[in-house]
């Protein structure tokens, strides 16, 4: 497989250079090559004119290249200082020398970091700045940021961009990977577009508009998740009342002298909502605020959950996951590899997964191979799953095609409710539009949907109403026709509360 070919990029010192492309276009592969995580088969990398070969990230770091990954790599139970010096103890020691250095870096780039705070007490934006500081501490002059805004709310994005401008002003170079075009246009000095693993153009942000950039990226117009005509009925299909879930706080997770020592922590706190036939209820929230727990509680996978869940008027609070699924709750899980697929099983066996008791997969106690296979073929056809056949292992498909298959499977058998967690995450633009169309079509036919997404445009575009979740509580109700991403962002982070503090 060739993930990248004929990539030509010139990045100037003291600039923010954006690299844009769809999911799967090869951005991450390219950056991993620059960062020494794998080697290119052909071609050269020149840093300040000198050719480089990187055997490992250590070589890249030595050459002044640092990478901030999309998923933070910080130890929650250590302080900022400890996280920063971890693995770089030789540079400035682990004591006051390191602390001084951290303060110096933080001061000169406006990162606003306190070295002795525990990482677990930091917000997402702060953690990202710690990651940036880690890289600067190791002497990087070129920073690669892999989709840094994916985990941030709009306000935090603005803060990040301010930081990037500071870095630039100090003569550092930033490579900024993204597929969000407005952000790229706002912050970049130059933009390189990658499509199908190769560079297609390098442009200046003042010369292009977002739609033009999008066309370069996908070679066609961007789809939108708009759905304005309402199909909401007054028949309640899913009613959740007072759903509460507690988890014990691990001993030692908090310093003893802090005074607050709760033995349990509420993952879900009195969550109530109603979904009608034909309604899409969107749930906005920063990851880790109880979305995953809510979904699993509704699916019956969280034994400790209290409160009631009613499906079509029947109290299903005590039902097993299987019974809930049989009763018509479909489930597109957040993590398709962990919960949605048997990766080392052929595709057609994955058709059976989650529907082990339903036709056409089974006849009595027997697996109906012919039925399951025929229906797998149907899903592959109707949902445009790109695969040479239904006997290939699920792991062989690209993420987008795996997701299309899962959505197709869950839409089978006329579900009453669909619980969709990030249904288009990691899916390319074309597949995204197809998944949206399928959800919209099912909604017209009376499907009730609980939609959880980190993509605020998707939430606003698909939902009939939006709730925000913060620390396990539903904190606001919004009309998608009027709400802006900024308003949602405030609700998701509790910005209003914070302003008072």
């Amino acid at each position: 497989m060739v993930a990248n070919r004929d990539v030509n990029i010139v990045i100037r010192r003291g600039q923010v250079h954006a690299i844009v492309g769809e999911n799967g276009a090869g951005k991450s592969t390219l950056m991993n090559t620059l960062y020494g995580m794998h080697r290119a088969d052909e071609g050269t990398i020149l840093v300040e004119g000198a050719p480089m070969t990187f055997q490992s990230p250590a070589d890249a770091i030595a050459a002044g290249i640092g990478m901030v990954h999309q998923h933070f790599m910080l130890a929650d139970n250590l302080t900022v200082l400890e996280n920063v010096v971890l693995g770089a103890e030789k540079l400035h020691g682990i004591g006051d020398g390191a602390r001084r250095k951290i303060m110096e870096i933080s001061g000169s780039y406006g990162l606003d970091i306190e070295p002795d705070v525990l990482v677990e007490d930091l917000g997402v934006g702060d953690r990202q700045r710690v990651e940036i500081l880690k890289v600067l501490y190791r002497g990087a002059r070129i920073l690669i940021l892999d989709e840094p805004t994916a985990v941030l709310v709009p306000q935090e994005v603005d803060e990040l961009f301010d930081n990037l401008r500071e870095l630039k002003a100090e003569g550092l170079t930033v490579i900024f990977i993204s597929h969000k075009l407005d952000e790229v246009l706002a912050v970049a000095d130059e933009i390189t577009v990658i499509r199908r693993g190769t560079t297609v153009a390098t442009v200046h942000p003042k010369d292009v508009t977002a739609p033009q950039l999008a066309e370069l990226m996908v070679g066609s117009e961007l789809p939108t998740p708009e759905t304005r005509e309402s199909t909401v009925t007054d028949q309640v299909v899913l009613q959740v009342d007072g759903l509460t879930l507690s988890a014990p706080v691990p001993r030692g997770a908090r310093p003893v002298d802090e005074g607050r020592e709760p033995t349990t922590r509420r993952l879900l706190d009195d969550v109530s909502f109603t979904i009608h036939r034909g309604e899409v209820l969107g749930l906005a929230g920063v990851e880790g605020n109880g979305q995953a727990e809510l979904v699993e509680a509704v699916m019956g996978m969280r034994p400790g959950a209290r409160g009631s869940v009613e499906l079509d008027g029947a109290d299903i609070s005590d039902w097993t996951t299987r019974r809930r699924r049989e009763a018509g709750i479909a489930y597109v899980p957040e993590d398709r590899h962990r919960q949605g697929l048997l990766l080392e099983a052929p595709l057609w066996e994955n058709r059976v997964l989650g529907h082990q008791t339903e036709r056409p997969n089974v006849k009595g106690p027997w697996i109906d191979r012919a039925g399951a296979r025929a229906d797998s073929e149907r899903i592959v056809r109707d949902y445009d799953v790109r695969t040479p056949g239904i006997d290939v292992l699920a792991s062989a498909l690209s993420g987008g095609n795996q997701q299309k298959f899962i959505v197709g499977r869950e839409m089978s058998g006329k579900p009453k409710v669909l619980i969709a967690a990030h249904p288009t995450r990691g899916v390319d633009v074309g597949a995204q539009a197809a998944i949206w169309d399928h959800i919209r079509a099912a909604r017209r036919n009376g499907l009730g949907v609980l939609l959880i997404s980190a993509d605020l445009d998707e939430l606003i575009g698909l939902s009939d109403s939006i709730r925000a979740i913060l620390r396990g509580r539903l904190v606001g109700e919004f009309d998608p026709a009027e709400v802006t991403p900024e308003q949602l962002g405030s609700a998701m982070t509790g910005a209003a509360d914070r302003a008072e503090a």
């Binding site: 090869g26 995580m37 990230p57 640092g66 693995g87 790109r386 695969t387 292992l393 792991s395």
Partner: protein, 378 residues
């Protein structure tokens, strides 16, 4: 399981055990040479049994119970349960079967069925203890089954003292012999030798077929395999994983109850202190070698059975300890486990490449995959 019989796939699949076998032969030869033994003579003795027909019968007999043991282990493996306790389970079952079989008088046939059922139930219950401990107290089945093996040994020794009768013509002790109505006659299928094949060889074949059908054709088997492949996905699909653990252990134990039956009902007729032990561990090796497939395990069981049989004259003819066979078996296992993993990874990568090529898609980039070890250094 694979419906498409792709010759390339078969070739790759077969290459691992064959390479492992060659590797084991090579290393064993080095060991023999280092010990100053006659390498050539050793292999000659192993590969050319003096009485071929007799060796064939004995190989099939050994293969029968080794195969049953492997089946019991494989049921656990398919669910990611490491049932090391097959050894204790089959001995508990066989002992209980022998006691009951010697104590009752029943019509021919029914007597046999009763003994087998008693053995299966007792073995299943013994295995069920480990299953219950795992789901209620979170005790790893590896630990509990190892301990249950030790407890079984002591418990059987204790109970044997209570029911013992002297075995005629020796100072061995055992349970009261099972009368004729509870015995399964041998089959003189191989002409030219007085040795007979266990009648219960058909039980082993039936068990192999039942195993295949249960796991691959039924809903229950699907749930079991799904749990083994990904317990998180199984939970999300509605499988009650705790119940599944207990049920799988019970079935694995019930299969273990069959292991002692060919010997008990076809040869020994009583459970004495010389009743073979350790077959559960051979079963683990054979299940690994046969990759949990009924055909693979049958071939592996016959191979291990043959090695055991052919080892007997080594001491006399080649002045080599019969334990050299244990070295060979161990090496086969060690290398085959490595080889299977290599082949498995190669296969997954090859399939990904093939699919990417055939669908002519955009290259998959590494978005969404977990951090690689290399990233942690940054």
């Amino acid at each position: 399981m694979k419906t498409a019989l792709d010759p390339r796939r078969l070739l790759i699949g077969a290459s691992a055990p064959v390479l492992a076998l060659l590797f084991a032969v090579a290393v064993t030869s080095v060991v023999l040479a280092t010990a100053g033994k006659d390498v050539w003579l050793t292999w000659q003795t192993l590969l050319q049994p003096q009485d071929f027909r007799r060796a064939l019968v004995l190989t099939i007999n050994q293969g029968t119970y080794i195969f049953l043991s492997a089946l019991a282990v494989a049921i656990g493996f398919r669910m990611n349960l490491f049932n090391i306790g097959v050894d204790g389970q089959y001995r508990m079952g066989a002992f209980a079967g022998a006691v009951v079989g010697g104590a009752v008088t029943l019509p021919t046939g029914i007597h046999v069925v009763v003994i087998i059922l008693v053995s299966m139930v007792v073995s299943a219950l013994w295995a069920g203890i480990a299953g219950l401990l795992k789901v209620t107290r979170g005790v790893s089945e590896v630990i509990s089954t190892i301990m249950l093996n030790a407890i079984a040994t002591s418990l059987i020794a204790y109970m044997l003292r209570r029911v013992q009768v002297p075995v005629a013509g020796s100072n061995n002790i055992g349970t009261k012999p099972i009368p004729g109505s509870g015995r399964v006659p041998g089959l003189g299928l191989v002409p030219g030798t007085p040795a007979e094949i266990y009648g219960l060889v058909f039980l082993a074949i039936a068990a192999g077929i039942a195993y295949h059908v249960l796991l691959n054709r039924t809903r229950f088997g699907f749930d079991l395999r799904a749990t083994g492949r990904s317990s998180t996905a199984a939970v999300a699909s509605g499988v009650d994983v705790k119940r599944m653990v207990v049920v799988a252990m019970l079935i694995s134990g019930a299969a273990a109850g069959l292991v002692g039956m060919p010997i008990l009902l076809g040869e020994a007729y009583s459970y004495s202190i010389t009743f073979p032990a350790g077959l559960g561990f051979t079963g683990i090796a054979v299940a690994l070698l046969g990759r949990n497939s009924p055909i693979g395990m049958a071939l592996a069981a016959l191979l291990f059975g043959y090695l055991n049989v052919a080892a007997n004259p080594l001491q006399i003819l080649a002045n080599v300890s019969t334990e050299v066979v244990a070295i060979i078996q161990g090496l086969i296992l060690l290398s085959v486990v490595v080889a299977y993993e290599v082949v498995r990874r190669y296969r997954i990568a090859a399939e990904q490449r093939r699919v990417a090529r055939e669908v002519q898609e955009d290259p998959v980039d590494s978005d969404g995959s977990g951090p690689s070890p290399a990233e942690v250094r940054a």
